[in-house]
Amino acid sequence: MTWPPDVQERAKELIGRYPDPKSAVMPLLYLAMRQDGYLTEAGMREVAGWTGHSPAQVQSVATFYGMFKTEPLGKYLVSVCTSISCMLLGGDAVLSAVEDETGVPHGETDAEGLFSVEHVECLGACGGAPAVQVNYELVEGSTPDQVRALCRWLTGERPDAVNTDDMQDRFGGRRSFDWAITETDGAIGPFPAFGPYGTVGEADG
């Protein structure tokens, strides 16, 4: 096993929550992404060792889902929704603005490893369309101008963790509903920030 001891502890704990170790493959894939910034071959082999899948089976499961990415990713994954509700309210223009501002066409990552840009299907933020996520942290009610500002901020500031409330306040608009409370945690890479997976970080400011 090549993961550091604390990650191995986490892996054991996650496996322990399921009646069958194979069920833990998805959480462990997130652990692997946390280690390498994206899902590497070594990461998949490691996961296979823990769950009892063959590496080919892990690859099969991982590539089925959109969020386990097997190509190197940027520090910030910018996902722009282009499903029907966001499309109706200008999501396509938001996507073009992101591509233009970052210089990264959708589906690609820049040479520097700063931005990956993708267009995605419905993020469940239709009441605040158009919607954008940075490392899966939501910004609702975006516009081309605001999303450009968001990209410039990320380029300039390079925060280690991105916080949804903070980004929404600065670069968002209409929300689907009252978010009501504020968090201080944030996402530390292109994978969902979730405590049990060890992927949550303190956001500054």
Binding site: A56, S60, F64
Partner: protein, 821 residues
């Protein structure tokens, strides 16, 4: 017997087993429903949607897949209604929109279910005008198989086979939706021993075999059914040839043995037949070099030299080794030649690498392979079946995985069936008897194992787990197994017609038809046809070679045998053959052994002759002639008869079939067996004793008590490891050596160590180490293997470029000392 129900298919009422899949029920009654993903030997998945039919239900008529619908009383099925036909056409149109127009260059053309079903059930043209999906094509996914993802229709037959049937989940779907494709994991190729089956069951040309690519079109092939000759199961195969060249083996479906599957060794192990290295003319050694000779000259010389030995020293100065690679008819001829003509009881079809011949021939009750499906528990104390008999491995896997049969595996190392085993008992070679004693006593952890085995019926597959293991252990295991409820034994020896040869008496203790040499009645019956024969027990292979080395024996007849490579004690084999005054080898190739002979006679190989073979169940099956042998090669029995004639005692056979008739007259257990029976009546072969035939020898393996077992247990000498010497599927055996695609896959010589032992010795993975036994010293690379018990070294047997280590239990493994200049 399942209940039968009446259903209606396209207006015709038929009676089918309740719960049977509609697609199968219809097919068995003459209505073919088109399909791709459904395969009768795999679980249904309903993915391709090709088998859509309309079924009337109380809630109305529904359109559904017939492969996922079970027949129920009164069901009304329409396979060709307007709706069903439109759906079927639609599915084919969908399948063809991304399918490339490769037919002219695709192997599958002419035997392609997609082609056939498009013509029968598809639309006249496709309306797709967009760009088809593209992939790099083809890509090798292993040394033997290529994948073309553009042709793939994503029926998942291959991935399901690899996972569910073979237990090798090395190919899987990747991505999803329209991007779905079959793939391996990078640097982990599809090196399953069963990969070739996916080529056979792929309904399009997505999976092709490198051994067959572009070689022929199906309509050029001549196809004859036969029985495979690579292990003692004798799977049914279709031998396919064109222009007198065997080009392909395919699996033939049957319930008795292999159910249509083949291991890759069996499937691709045909290259040796047409190999350039085949012997074409007799060879006589003159001044240390072989010279081509005529049959006349060669046979004369053999008769002269053997005759001289017989005259001077007696018939018992000649030994005969081999006969397990040919047909029963050839083996019978060998037995008659050695006993009736030469006058020697020193003959053995095994190469000092098997078990007591009487045990193999006579153990009772003997299981049939089908009993595995009905067993409550299986005890597997034998070689790793995945390496030595792929089909048997698949049958055991199926029983344990799909039928809930409990499985107990005892072996020094990991086996292919460990993941399905209820209990795995690992032990050090030599200490098997101690383990058996513990198991029989049933104390501690063994109580649970005993309990597992108490749920009958029990089938015990018993053999030698490795070549340093005491052969008596297998018998003790069999004795224990037979004490379990409703138990039967399946004795295991690998070489293809070992069981047939033993049944034909090619053993020092057996006469043809499962009688022993001390059976007066059987002897008398035999002598009536053969003339006088020696009646005492003879020497086996070990004794023959020892006798030759000591000078007690003078002459040696090798019938398709390579003792230099196959006898574990390689030193003894060399000494024996070198010391002999005269050696004649009847063989397909110049092997390490036949190289040392005085005369070599070219023989016909599998699929060049017709005859019968007998498998480990005692099932007699037919092998058939498809091509002619190369050059001046002859059938074994003809060669032996020609020598016998010159020695003054012809074998008097008119044909191979005539031999089979004599066998049925003279071999008690084989009464009633004939070629006609096997060709016409018993398509799955006939298990002997067949019908009213009687088997004189009923062998009861001796149950050994704790003391005896502990006395049998061996430990290696101090400072040494216990050597586990076992075969791999691909090795340097003569047939593999001459099947080039497969020979390249032999793992090669190495020594496998438990990481603890490696650490103690001070070596890591890949390090070259000194490996010493009493017989040999080799340098081999290290492989770390945590599945071994500590104190064990595993060395794969008979690997290319790797000399013999001998068969002693003790092996010393040491790190190489660097030689400083």
């Amino acid at each position: 017997m399942a209940d039968l129900v009446k259903i209606t298919v396209d207006g015709r009422e038929i009676e089918v087993p309740a719960g049977e899949l509609v697609i199968k029920a219809a097919q068995d009654n003459g209505t073919y429903i088109p399909r791709f993903c459904w395969h009768p030997r795999m679980k249904e998945v309903g993915m391709c949607r090709m088998c859509l039919v309309e079924i009337e239900t109380p809630r109305g008529t529904i359109l559904t897949t017939s492969c996922t619908t079970s027949a129920a009383a009164g069901m009304v099925v329409h396979t060709a209604s307007e709706t069903a036909k439109k759906a079927q056409e639609g599915i084919l149109e969908f399948l063809l929109i991304n399918h490339p127009l490769d037919c002219p260059v695709c192997d599958k053309g002419g035997e392609c279910p997609l082609q056939d079903q498009t013509v029968a059930y598809g639309p006249g043209e496709s309306r797709f005008v967009e760009e088809k999906r593209h992939f790099e094509k083809p890509i090798p996914i292993s040394d033997l198989v290529f994948l073309d993802r553009e042709r793939c229709i994503l029926c998942a037959r291959c991935t399901r086979f690899a996972d569910e049937i073979a237990g090798d989940p090395l190919i899987e779907f990747k991505e999803r939706g329209n991007y779905t494709q079959v793939q391996t994991f990078p640097d982990l190729p599809f090196s399953s021993y069963f990969s070739g089956n996916t080529v056979q069951i792929c309904p399009v040309g997505a999976l092709t075999a490198s051994a067959y690519r572009f070689k022929a079109r199906p309509w050029d092939l001549r196809v004859v059914e036969s029985s495979c000759s690579h292990c003692s199961v004798g799977c049914r195969i279709a031998v396919e040839s064109s222009q007198n060249d065997v080009l392909r083996f395919n699996g033939v479906d049957n319930d008795a043995t292999n159910r249509g599957w083949l291991s890759d060794k069996c499937r691709f192990g045909f290259e040796f037949i047409g190999s350039e290295n085949r012997l074409r003319t007799p060879l006589i050694k003159v001044d240390g070099e072989f010279q081509e000779a005529t049959w006349g000259d060669a046979l004369d010389l053999v008769a002269e030299r053997l005759g001289a030995i017989i005259t001077e020293h007696g018939g018992e100065a000649v030994g005969g080794i081999g006969g397990a690679r040919g047909t029963n008819e050839d083996a019978y001829a060998f037995g008659k030649f050695m006993r009736g003509v030469v006058g020697s009881n020193h003959l053995d079809a095994q190469l000092d690498d098997g078990l007591d011949a009487r045990f193999l021939a006579g153990v009772s009750p003997r299981a049939e392979i089908g009993d595995l499906d009905r067993a409550g528990a299986i005890l597997l104390w034998a070689p790793d079946l995945k390496e030595e008999s792929g089909s048997l491995y698949l049958r055991v896997r199926h029983a344990a995985q799909d039928r809930g049969t409990r499985l107990v595996v005892a072996h020094p190392r990991r086996t292919g069936l460990d993941d399905r085993a209820t209990h795995k008992l690992t032990y050090r070679p030599g200490e098997g008897p101690a383990l058996l004693a513990d198991l029989v006593a049933g104390e501690g952890d063994y109580a649970a194992v005993l309990e597992t085995l108490s749920e009958g019926p029990v089938v015990a597959i018993v053999g030698r787990t490795g070549l340093t293991e005491q052969p008596e252990l297998a018998e003790a295991v069999a004795a224990f197994a037979l004490s379990l409820p409703d138990a039967k034994v399946l004795p295991f020896a690998r070489r293809s017609n070992t069981f047939g040869a033993l049944d034909m008496g090619v053993a020092p203790t057996l006469l043809p038809g499962r009688a022993t040499t001390d059976d007066a009645e059987a002897t008398a019956q035999l002598e009536a046809v053969w003339g006088p024969i020696p009646t005492h027990e003879g020497r086996g292979t070990h004794g023959i070679l020892q006798g030759l080395a000591d000078g007690d024996l003078k002459g040696l007849v090798l019938l398709g045998a390579d003792p230099m490579r196959d006898v574990p004690d390689g030193t003894l084999a060399r000494q024996g053959i070198e010391s002999a005054d005269f050696v004649v080898a009847i063989d397909l190739f110049l092997t390490d052994s036949s190289e040392m002979a005085d005369v070599v006679l070219p023989a016909e190989a599998f699929s060049e002759k017709e005859g019968t073979v007998t498998n480990l169940e005692g099932r007699v099956q037919k092998v058939n002639r498809v091509v002619t042998g190369p050059g001046q090669s002859q059938a074994d029995w003809t060669i032996l008869d020609d020598i016998a004639r010159r020695l003054g005692k012809p074998l008097a056979f008119a044909s191979a079939e005539a031999i089979s008739k004599e066998i049925a007259d003279v071999a008690p257990a084989y009464v009633g067996i004939s070629w006609e029976l096997l060709d016409w009546d018993e398509k799955d072969g006939a298990v002997v004793p067949y019908g009213a035939a009687i088997q004189p020898l009923i062998y009861h393996p001796a149950a050994l008590g704790k003391k005896a077992l502990q006395a049998m247990s061996q430990k290696p000498s101090s400072g040494a490891l216990a050597l586990h010497l076992a075969r791999t599927l691909y090795d340097d055996g003569v047939l593999m050596r001459n099947s080039l695609s497969l020979h390249a896959l032999a793992p090669g010589g190495a020594v496998y160590l438990h990481p603890e032992d490696a650490g103690r010795i001070g070596v890591s993975e890949g390090a070259l180490v000194e490996v010493k036994t009493v017989d040999a010293a080799l340098r081999l690379p290290t492989v770390l293997d945590p599945s071994l018990a500590t104190g064990v070294a595993f060395v794969p047997f008979n690997q290319p470029w790797t000399p013999s280590l001998g068969a002693a239990l003790s092996v010393v493994v040491a790190a190489r000392k660097e030689v400083r200049a």
